[in-house]
């Protein structure tokens, strides 16, 4: 470890200043996200103010996450193999959110039942009700949206 040149195995000792500046940046971003959330922003193009507000909140959250991952978790100074594993978890997460595409593109809606049960209680069936056949099902437990 005496060599000055950076080898993959050499561990970087990060200065207190770097860590402190990162902490300040994180706190500033936290205050910014709280401040912006108090304002109802205007719509931009096809995106409503709600979407604009939410996107800004998430962009700030991702920025904070990147600071924590790169500086505090030291990924910035880590080996390529480590970076690959760091990416793997988040790439899988993005793939998971791809499932949303299914909800957006399929034109099905929930069959009534959930909405009609007494507010605040889970559906409870008596043994009799369970044996009585309900409305004709299309085996998907959903009905096609008109």
């Amino acid at each position: 470890m005496s060599s000055k040149t950076s080898t993959p195995h050499e561990h970087h000792i990060v200065s207190t200043g770097t860590y402190f500046v990162t902490l300040i940046a994180l706190v500033v971003l936290m205050i910014a996200t709280v401040a912006i959330a108090q304002v109802n922003l205007n719509a931009i193009g096809p995106f409503s103010g709600t979407v604009v507000n939410q996107v800004i909140a998430l962009v700030i959250a991702v920025a904070k996450a990147m600071l924590v991952i790169t500086v505090f978790m030291g990924v910035k100074w880590s080996t390529t193999l480590t970076k690959l594993w760091v990416a793997s978890g988040f790439v899988t997460l993005i793939l998971l959110f791809g499932i949303l595409g299914d909800y957006v593109t399929r034109h099905y809606e929930h069959q009534s039942g959930w909405e009609k049960i007494e507010d605040g209680s889970l559906p409870r069936f008596t043994p009799d009700e369970r044996t009585v056949p309900g409305p004709k099902s299309n085996d998907l437990n959903v009905k096609i949206r008109q």
Binding site: V27, T33, G49, F72, M73, L81, T82, V86, G89, T92
Partner: protein, 243 residues
Amino acid sequence: MSAITNSPDHGHGHGHDSALHHQFEDIGQQNESYIVGMWVFLSTEVMFFGALFFIYTLYRWNYQQDFYIAHEHLNVIMGAVNTTVLLFSSFTMVMAVQSAQLKKRGHVIGYLLMTIACACVFLIIKYFEYSSKLADHLYPGAGFATDAQAAFGEHAIEAGKVAVNMNHAQLFYSLYFGMTGLHAVHIIAGILVIGALIRLWFNNAKSVTLDFVPTEMVGLYWHFVDLVWIFLFPLFYLMPKPH
């Protein structure tokens, strides 16, 4: 360490005082293996919490108005203070790791104790948040609609007489308690792990004093817990008003 480690056949020149285990070529390889192993674990954690974030996204998308009205009962100030406390604890944790690299034992113990103190402050604030929700009957359960009606009744009038679907509001609180509760379990686990680490440092155990990476691994876990909260905070406390 076993006698095999000291066998001259290895030719690494490491003796009893080396942190290097005999299956590794050098300390760099060993450290990389440790860190990669920790990230494999954290990847599973990303997916674990990720599924919950997905459920949140889906129901928030479907029931925007009800989620918005339900979220107004959360205390933004407490959430913001907790965020700051966790960010600061990440800083003290990373300073503990830096002190471990510089082999300053006293500093390591000091910073780790500060991290645990922050974790406890976080849990105490969470306790007050949870108890106020429990007092208002804002928790999922068989009597949610009738018991929580009082809290929402007033609110519905303030919000321009918007009717709240109590099932959807209950779903919001299921997600709130489920996700922040799972996060709190991670905080408690963190306190235990950091506590064990402090004990090892206090006893001058060679497993932690010879190399900084065991401390770094605990640090990675702690930063991950912070990371989850960075997303929980805006999603639950700072919901924008649906138009």
